[in-house]
Symmetry: C3
Subunit: 372 residues, 3 copies
């Protein structure tokens, strides 16, 4: 096990930055159009790493195209010392996204990436380790789906994920041990499952409507006394979305659907708002998630995060995951959401919110508070 | 039966108001973020009653947080004379929402609430009484789903609602008398239905796409000659939405869905637009609904209302309900909708529209025209 | 076969226009609110033909109401010489929409309509002829659904369309020749299919999520070197939508749905965004579609077009149709989309984009480049 990049090391690098000439750093994927556009709105320079097949995309959205666009063969290349050096020369603060984590690897970010990251780098381990994530959310008092240790324990409808499966494929549902094995064997027979003895995660099936709630924890802003303040900062509910997965058009394939293995890969997002009386739960969950993160890995989560929930009138909210960074669902709202307007009175996306937080850090001479 | 609050009584109260210092009144639920934000945009003060568990919500959306926030144990408390007195001292015009009607009770609003309400208080009885509502809409020429008096009459697919059922639960579909009793008994056996001999409402099942259309009847504005003018005012089509109910993710639970009792509780809303050629029907329905309301309970409906429709290419529009006040679907559009921009050329939500109508009433010295 | 209107004839008409006093022309349907509003934003006058039943609609959206509104009995009437004369007197450039094509008829537009059309009139034949359209898209390298010549060839799930069927009705799915004939006969028996020996189109059934992608090809703007430039111009990805068809609420009618013949008539549209990493395919498809159109019918497609795609993680994108003009899905975005803001930094709809392109044509004294 390699040693981890320390906060002191990053603070040292940051102390050599020209704070009047910062740039946000991006890999050209996930939510980079939004992030780059947002940085520009706030007057920050932008630097993006891009593979050759994507350059045309970013150059075709001129106001969201990075000021400095560096071509790489793979995104993982940003770990190379020449690129790390370049980023430091350009005073880059890297904005972590799902793609940064996926392509570069969370361990690599923790151990080998000596460039300031927006937010708290320690969050990475609490997000990628499913046990730690569960510990975090349950300690925060959030209801999560029950997990089953063994197929023999199945006593209701469950949602089964193949451990080796990539993305959103290789899921199925079952309501008994018998159905579990029957579907598993059918999957092996049909080649959907490649392994002979596949490992699975078995989770309680939760029915209801999915709401993916986009929060932002700011270290520099507070509400008046009664608002969702935590520590020195505040929790903002910026927007929400619903993910669109192939199963979401499965009904168009009726009557064949029940026989198939569904696919849950996220292909896009759609906007929505939630019943206003339910916001009291969502605000509470946001506050509790941040509070618990401070206890578990001080100074806790910083900047954007997302609680991935299912709501049903009978059972309330179940939270099945936290994303401790900007999620792609925020791409719906580069010009603000129905909610962010109530806080800012101007078009405020999550990407712009990140850039504004960095600017506030500069103004307050406390950039190190939100960088690791 | 108690005597009803009269228009003269409200006019008398209103005549004592300081029209330069009006406030809109709210209970913190339903669409109050939008309404409060809209009042502020139009320069009106705001007063909101809030339960302790919701204060953090409203204080965390600072631009939509009421100027005066009064804590209550239950929303029904606003009937108490101290609160009615306070509202009158603050020159409050209460904005009725679904939550105001639900928590305070329509009869209580009609009989015990001596605070000016935006709109026509008489609308309440025409909305809550299902027979009156049907009389209203049918007289307006709108096609409604057929209602069946007895299960033995079932001659096609029907939608069954348990009379005692709360919110959106306790619904099922059936295609014959036999299926009706079979499902009813299954519901009793499974405990979904608690009563032994439940009463039900049986309605024709209408297939198609739901469009919830948000209108506004203005008493102070008119279009040029050929527009949707009614009486001294005009009908505006401000926006539309689709409600999101647990059944809307039912396909994700296949193949178990058909066995279940569906839940139709509204959990949120999503935006959409309708085929432009269908607007001619929607404009007509809006005009006819207002016109008929004037005939039935002069001066008729005022301010926002919603027609809840299902459209199918084969059968056209069926209207299954009218909400004679702001609906929560408008929460999608605090910064305007695809339609409202064509009327106002600036971000216009239904909440802001209400506030603007009040301001126009002040300017015209005819506030009493839109208040009861 | 009549002779076609020639480019020289249109150029001659255009040369007599007062370019300081142009008007865009519309028939009041489809996307005319957006187009009229957009023309007004860009300072162009507007002229609309309207049937009596729709006048109230357009007069009730004052900022989207045509400056000159001419009443007609049917939209096809615009072919009459008095109307063609009037349009030329008003310096009208007609904006083609799906309704213009449907109501006036593509052949009539090609042969009898001596008024300048925005875009390339030759596009019409490449769009209406399904073989030519397939030739175009396949030459552009887009993957299209396989077509089956005969029911006996069915070797997987297929989507069957009755040739005589109007709009979106008369579709069904089948997975074998046997099922094909069984459903066809059932349809005849039930009266859904009126002909005795109906002709059908049999297409591979593609599962996945539908994304309708709204592009604009500009002849006057270019990106910097690496952007999606084609010829002298550039491809812009302005927005995307998903169409809403009766089948999209079919799950609400469970368990009866599988027995029914689905209806795919478009009733409206909903907004969405796509996973950012998929944009590289969409930009490529847009570029290739335009490039190929230049090869096939120089100067190729001009102005707005839409690729109607289905995306599945396993099979990527399948393109099932191109609409070579503005599509109604753009009605979601009269004030801009999540994507168009990245290009323009101001509210830019497709309708406004068209008007701006015309204005650029005037400035560049090259209006003839984008008019035929």
């Amino acid at each position: 096990m390699n040693s981890k990049v320390t906060k002191d090391e990053i603070d040292e690098i940051l102390s050599n930055y020209d704070s009047k000439n910062l740039a946000t750093g991006h890999i050209c994927s996930h939510s980079t159009l939004q992030n780059t556009y947002g940085s520009r709105q706030e007057g920050l320079r932008t630097l993006g790493f891009c593979t050759s097949d994507r350059i045309k995309v970013y150059r075709s959205f001129p106001l969201a195209s990075p000021d400095i666009l560096l071509q790489v063969k793979t995104f993982k290349e940003i770990l190379e010392s020449k690129w790390q050096k370049r980023m430091k020369e350009e005073n880059v603060i890297m904005i972590p996204t799902g793609s940064v984590v996926e392509y570069v690897g969370p361990e690599n970010l923790e151990e080998k990436f000596y460039v300031p990251l927006f937010g708290n780098r320690r969050t990475l381990e609490w997000e990628r380790d499913r046990n730690k994530q569960r510990q975090w959310l349950e300690k925060a008092g959030l209801k999560m789906p029950r997990e089953y240790g063994d197929p023999s324990e199945i006593d209701g409808k469950v949602f089964v994920k193949l451990s080796g499966a990539k993305g959103g494929s290789g899921f199925f549902t079952a309501s008994s041990e018998k159905e579990y094995y029957s579907k598993l064997n059918e999957g092996i027979r049909r080649g959907v499952i490649s392994e002979k003895e596949p490992k699975t995660t078995i989770q309680e099936f939760i029915s209801g409507i999915r709401y993916y709630v986009h929060y932002f924890y700011s270290s520099f802003e507070t509400y008046e006394e009664d608002g969702a303040n935590v520590g020195d900062g505040r929790v903002e509910l910026l927007s929400m979305d619903r993910r669109i997965e192939p199963i979401d058009e499965s009904y168009r394939g009726l009557p064949d659907v029940p026989e198939e293995f569904f696919d849950y890969t996220v292909t896009g997002n759609e906007p929505l708002v939630i019943r206003e009386s339910l916001l009291r739960f969502l605000i509470k969950y946001g506050v509790d998630t941040v509070n618990t993160s401070i206890e578990l890995f001080s100074p806790g989560i910083q900047g954007p995060f997302c609680l991935e929930t299912i709501y049903h009138p009978d059972s309330g909210f179940t939270v099945f995951e936290v994303s401790a960074r900007i999620v792609a669902g925020t791409n719906l709202y580069p010009h603000g959401s129905p909610y962010s307007g109530y806080i800012f009175g101007e078009p405020m996306s999550t990407g712009r919110r990140i850039a504004r937080e960095i600017k506030r850090g500069i103004e307050e001479k406390q950039l190190n508070k939100i960088i690791f």
